[in-house]
Amino acid sequence: MRKRYLIDRGSRGVLLVCATVSVAVLLAIAVFIFKESLSAFGEIGLLDFLLGTKWDPNPVGDASPSYGILVMIVGTVLVTMGALIIAIPLGLGCAVLLADVAPHRFRQLLRPAVELLVGIPSVVYGLVGLVLIVPLIRQIGGPGLSLAAGIIVLAAMIMPTIVSISEDSIKAVPRAYREGALALGATRWQAIWRVVLPAARSGIAASIVLGMGRAVGEAMAMVMVVGMAKAMPNSPLDPARPMAPSIALETNYASGTHLSALFAIGVVLFLFIVILNSVAIVVFKRGARA
């Protein structure tokens, strides 16, 4: 009789430990990345690191190495913004089509397709970009491996995520909203634009934040198509070098200050994502209450 109460007590403790693991991992990530980056920040200096335009950790001859990541920050911001500019309108159009406009049959056909596309590994998107998009861009001009190729691949990669989550939240808007608008004499489009979409806005915003997070953090697909040049891109046809793929490419062989500098890029990326997510969580809480 006593034994089962002891088990009951013990199990609660074990489960609590399980629940704290994810917080512990988050803290451990923060601690490790910061700790490993300290020597780089100390040696390079925060401003020279963030605003330096030259990244040359292993210079030829006896020149001293440079660790400026402005080119990478610009690269990450440009590919992410570009991908969002393409993926948001296409993705939202697609979501409204699937949730509200298209006949049921059409939806039944396309919904599994969108689910599949959410699950396809990013390296597959990168590969298709490399063999399909890059040659097309090379015909327009430049080396082909470029900012534009990165933007197109990222847009295709995050679009299914935006479609899937936005569609769910549009579907979740109560029928009465739509019917009320139509009963007041609104056209179908007015009901969608003025009533349904505003009601689904927190879910739509969530899908965009999620897509943005994926775009900022994507490393391997970018390694394949974006060119990884060290110079600042002057046009969409020039190659670029975003942060995440730079870390991925160099970590395996780096050492000393170089390795520490890669962790410092990780810190910038980590802080960016934590701020993005915290803002998103606060905004959705407010959206959910309203």
Partner: protein, 283 residues
């Protein structure tokens, strides 16, 4: 500017929606069709059954890569499933509504958004370097387990929460302790939902590359222990693209990945339909 009638606006807007929807679908169709058509040429039994031999032309197949993938994912799941399901049970059945619980939830949500490569850096610093596991399947599995944890917690918690309250009340009324209720009543009832979440995590694990690229090494040899290096199918695709000119084999590997994802989605859809029927059918 003349006022456009609502009827005309509607026509234009709906045309726009059909247009964007169809463009989006076409783009995505092209991606899958391309991999399907080009990849199928190199996809045969020889590819699946021989080991990669390296070289710039990407000689050999993907047999040891498939073995490493299974090994890695098996080990990852052994680590992450008990932790994830345990955390989900705590959050759905035990957690009081207080500051500590909110901190746990916030931490889990933020962790879900951390990029794969940042997990990779963490794994590289802790498992590969500080704990001396070197580039190995163990380092990869531990890193991947951290990455999958938040998703697994969320899906398992949803499954537990969808079990009707009457189940809990009936068990408690019969004199069961909290743990007996969880173990004998809630877990069996929520099992299809939890399994769906686990299969979804396997799907994500199959597609992950960045965090493994910096923790697993990339050896093509058949792994002999958890301390062997290795590479997954996604990593192999990347290596083929970066180090060889075997684009045909890369596309065939991509096709294997897509087929895996199709199978995983089919399994989860089937399971979650059954789960929903069970939860709403009253049985």
């Amino acid at each position: 500017m003349p006022r456009i009638s609502p009827g005309l606006t509607q026509k234009l807007a709906l045309a726009g929606i059909w247009g964007t929807g169809i463009v989006a679908m076409l783009i995505l169709l092209v991606i899958v069709a391309y991999v399907l058509v080009k990849g199928v040429a190199d996809l045969d039994w020889a590819l699946l059954s021989t080991a990669p031999r390296g070289g710039t032309s990407g000689e050999g197949g993907i047999s040891t890569v498939i073995a490493s993938t299974f090994y890695l994912i098996g080990l990852t799941m052994v680590i992450t499933v008990p932790l994830g399901v345990g955390a989900a049970i705590y959050l759905s059945e035990y957690a009081p509504d207080n500051r500590a619980t909110r901190l746990i939830r916030y931490g889990t949500e933020v962790l879900a958004g951390v990029p794969s490569i940042v997990f990779g850096l963490f794994g590289f610093a802790l498992f590969v370097t500080a704990l001396h596991f070197r580039f190995s399947i163990l380092s990869g599995a531990l890193t991947l387990a951290c990455l999958l944890l938040p998703t697994l917690i969320r899906t398992s918690e949803e499954a537990l929460r969808s079990v009707p309250h009457t189940h809990r009340e009936a068990a408690l009324a019969l004199g069961a302790t909290r743990w007996q209720t969880v173990w004998r009543v809630l877990l069996p009832a929520a099992m299809p939902g939890i399994v769906t979440g686990i299969i979804l995590s396997v799907g994500r694990a199959v597609g992950e590359t960045a965090c493994l690229f910096v923790t697993m090494g990339g050896s093509t040899a058949l792994p002999t222990s958890v301390f062997s290096g290795g590479r997954t199918l996604s990593m192999h695709l990347l290596y083929l693209v970066m180090d060889t000119n075997a684009f045909g084999k890369a596309l065939a590997t991509g096709l294997v990945l897509i087929i895996t994802i199709v199978a995983i989605n089919a399994a989860t859809n089937w399971l979650s339909q059954r789960f929903r029927a069970r939860m709403t059918g009253g049985a």
